[in-house]
C-alpha cells in the first residue's frame, strides 16, 4: 500500500448552459475556486491532471494543452486521463496514485466538459467502431436503457413497480438539486410528470435522463506530510479505491449483474475495510445519468440484494433521510458535464465528510462513497473517502 492521500479542497463552476464563458474561462472558474478555498496558489502544486470525454465533444483535441493557461500548469508535470464517463473518478485515481507513490505532495485534478457546444450523443457514438456497433448503439441512452431493461427482466421485477421507483428517484433528486448551489437542472417535478414525459429510449423518458451540462470541477489532493505542514484539520482521506474495465464488444459480458461495477466496489471496500456498505457508509454519490440504472448500481455495490432496489427505493432507504442517502447533490441526473461529472461525485463525497456540503449536508457523515461509469457499458470506478485518517 502506498502513502496516505487526502482531498483538501474542492472548486466547482456553476454548472449549466454556460455560453457566457469560453471553455478555458470555464475551466479557470473551477481552478480559481479551489485555490480560493484552500488558500494555495498554482506555485504550490507539484503536478496537474486533467480529463474530458472524447475531444469531439467540443471539437478541440488535446484539451490539456488548450487549458494549460486556465489550469496554470505551465512548467509542471501534466497528465491527461480519459476513460469516457468514468473520466472524473479516474482523475481522482490518477492524483491518488501520483501522491501515494511519493512522487508528489500536492496535485491538482481538473475535470471539464462543455457539452452544450457540440452534439453529445453524436460524440458518444464515436466511441464505438463504425463497421458494427455504431449502427445500433445510439449514444448513451440506447445502451443504458438496454442494460436497465435486461436487469428488470432478469429479476422478474414488476414493470409498474420499477417505473414507480425510477420516478421516485427522479422526483427526489430534482428536489435535492435545489439544495446544491452548483447544480444545473432545477425544476420541481412530480411522479406523474416523470411517467408521462416523452420516451427517449424506452423505458427511459425525458425526466429519467441527465442533461447536457457545461461545467468543470477542480480538486486538490495532498500527502499526509502536506496536510500536517498546512495544519489542516478537516480533510477527506482516501480510504479505498477500485476500478475495473470489461471487454470491448457490448454483447460480450453480462450487464444486468455488472461485474465491473461489482468488482470496482469490492476492491474499494476491501481497501477501506468495509464489510456492510449500507450500514457503514454514511452517504453515496452514485453516477446516475439514468434513474433506472441507478437501481442496478445499488445492487452491484451491495447496498442491497439483487432485484431488491426498487422496493427499498420506494421505502426511502436511499433518500436524504434514509439509511444510506444517495446523491444528495441531485447527482448526475441533474448535472452532467461528463469529463467533470465523476470528479464532482468524489468532490461531493469529500465535501460531505468535511462537513462543507451546505444545504445538502448529510448530518454527521464520516464515510462517503463516490462512483463513475463509462464506455459502452465497460468501465466503473469507485473512490471512498472518510473524515478519519
Amino acid at each position: 500500500m502506498g502513502k496516505a492521500v487526502a482531498i483538501i479542497g474542492v472548486g466547482q463552476t456553476n454548472h449549466g448552459r454556460r455560453m457566457d464563458v469560453s471553455y478555458p474561462d470555464l475551466v479557470r472558474e473551477a481552478v480559481l475556486r479551489v485555490y480560493e478555498e484552500t488558500g494555495l496558489s498554482p506555485n504550490d502544486v507539484d503536478g496537474v491532471v486533467s480529463g474530458t470525454m472524447p475531444s469531439m465533444m467540443e471539437g478541440v483535441a488535446l484539451t490539456h494543452f488548450y487549458f494549460a493557461d486556465a489550469m496554470a500548469s505551465a512548467g509542471k508535470p501534466i497528465l491527461k486521463t480519459e476513460t469516457c464517463g468514468s473520466t472524473g473518478v479516474s482523475l481522482a485515481h490518477t492524483a491518488y496514485y501520483w501522491i501515494s507513490s511519493g512522487m508528489a505532495d500536492l496535485v491538482l485534478a481538473v475535470g471539464h466538459e462543455k457539452m452544450t457546444e457540440g452534439d453529445s450523443q453524436a460524440t458518444m457514438t464515436t466511441v464505438v467502431e463504425p463497421w458494427y456497433q455504431r449502427y445500433f448503439i445510439a449514444g448513451a441512452p440506447g445502451v443504458f436503457s438496454m442494460q436497465s431493461q435486461m436487469w428488470s427482466v432478469r429479476y422478474g421485477l414488476d414493470e409498474k413497480k420499477v417505473r414507480d421507483a425510477a420516478a421516485y428517484i427522479s422526483v427526489t433528486h430534482h428536489d435535492s438539486a435545489f439544495d446544491n448551489p452548483y447544480a444545473h437542472v432545477k425544476i420541481r417535478v412530480t411522479a406523474e410528470d416523470v411517467k408521462n414525459a416523452r420516451v427517449i429510449t424506452y423505458p427511459v423518458r425525458l425526466l429519467d435522463v441527465c442533461p447536457n451540462s457545461d461545467g468543470a470541477c477542480a480538486v486538490i489532493f495532498a500527502s499526509e506530510e502536506m496536510v500536517k505542514k498546512l495544519g489542516l484539520k478537516k480533510v477527506a482521506w482516501v480510504k479505498g479505491l477500485g476500478y475495473r474495465g470489461e471487454e470491448y464488444f457490448f454483447g460480450d459480458s453480462d450487464k444486468a449483474v455488472w461485474q465491473s461495477a461489482v468488482q470496482a466496489a469490492k476492491q474499494a471496500y476491501d481497501m477501506a475495510g468495509i464489510k456492510d456498505p449500507r450500514k457503514e457508509l454514511d452517504v453515496a454519490e452514485v453516477y446516475n445519468p439514468f434513474t433506472f440504472q441507478e437501481m442496478l448500481f445499488y445492487e452491484c455495490f451491495g447496498f442491497c440484494g439483487l432485484g431488491e432496489a426498487p422496493d427499498l427505493v420506494l421505502q426511502g432507504t436511499f433518500g436524504r433521510k434514509g439509511e444510506l442517502p444517495c446523491d444528495p447533490s441531485g447527482g448526475t441526473l441533474c448535472t452532467n458535464p461528463i469529463g467533470a461529472t465523476g470528479l464532482i461525485r468524489t468532490a461531493e463525497a469529500a465535501l460531505q465528510v468535511m462537513e462543507k456540503a451546505g444545504d445538502h449536508q448529510i448530518p454527521g457523515a464520516k464515510l462517503a462513497f463516490s462512483h463513475a461509469m463509462g464506455g459502452v457499458d465497460q468501465f466503473n470506478g469507485v473512490m471512498i473517502v472518510g473524515s478519519e485518517r
Binding site: M19, D20, M56, G59, D119, S120, Q121, A122, T125, E129, P130, W131, Y132, Q133, R134, Y135, F136, I137, A138, G139, P141, G142, V143, S145, M146, Q147, Q149, M150, V153, R198, V199, I200, T201, Y202, E247, Y248, F249, F250, G251, D252, K255
Partner: protein
C-alpha cells in the same frame, strides 16, 4: 435573436479508411453470401460472433471458424426515439442484443419487420426471450447492414 456573447460555428470533417484485416474481411465476405461467421476459442470453448482474431478472455488466437445459426433469442432491447448528428440508423428503431443459437455472446443488431411508429404497439410485440431470425437485404455489400434486421418468429 439577441445574444449577449458571440459564438463561432465550426465543423470538423476528416476522411478515414479503416483496415478490416483478415478476420473481419472474411466475416463480411460471409455476410455478402448470407453467412454469419463466428469463431470458437479452443481454450474456453466459447463461440464468439462477429468472428474474432483472438479470444478477448483467453488472449489466444481463435483458429476455428463456425457458421453461426441465423436464429436466436432476444436478450435485451431498446426502442430509440431521438436523433443526433450523423446518426447512421433512422429513428425510431430498436437496438437489440440477440443470443444467436450455439453462440456464447450477444450479437448487436436491429429488430424489425413490424410497425415501429407506435411505441405502445411495439411493447406488446417485443418480449425478452422471444425467438428472432435474420432478414437479409436483397443487395448485399459485405456490410453489417446486409442483415436488414432480425424479425420476430411467430
Amino acid at each position: 435573436m439577441n445574444k449577449e456573447f458571440k459564438t463561432i460555428k465550426t465543423e470538423i470533417r476528416l476522411p478515414y479508411e479503416l483496415a478490416y484485416g483478415a478476420t473481419w474481411t472474411r466475416f463480411f465476405e460471409g455476410m455478402s453470401n448470407q453467412i454469419l461467421y463466428g469463431s470458437k476459442c479452443e481454450k474456453c470453448n466459447r463461440v464468439l460472433v462477429p468472428a474474432r482474431t483472438f479470444c478477448p478472455r483467453c488472449f489466444i488466437d481463435t483458429k476455428e471458424w463456425v457458421e453461426v445459426p441465423q436464429q436466436g433469442t432476444l436478450t435485451a432491447w431498446s426502442y430509440v426515439n431521438y436523433r443526433y448528428f450523423g446518426q447512421p440508423t433512422t429513428p425510431p428503431f430498436i437496438g437489440a442484443l440477440i443470443r444467436l443459437d450455439g453462440t456464447d455472446v450477444d450479437f448487436v443488431h436491429l429488430l424489425g419487420g413490424f410497425d415501429l411508429s407506435d411505441f405502445e404497439k411495439v411493447r406488446k410485440i417485443v418480449k425478452n426471450g422471444m425467438r428472432v431470425e435474420a432478414v437479409w437485404a436483397n443487395e448485399r455489400k459485405a456490410h453489417i447492414m446486409d442483415i436488414r434486421y432480425f424479425k420476430p418468429l411467430a
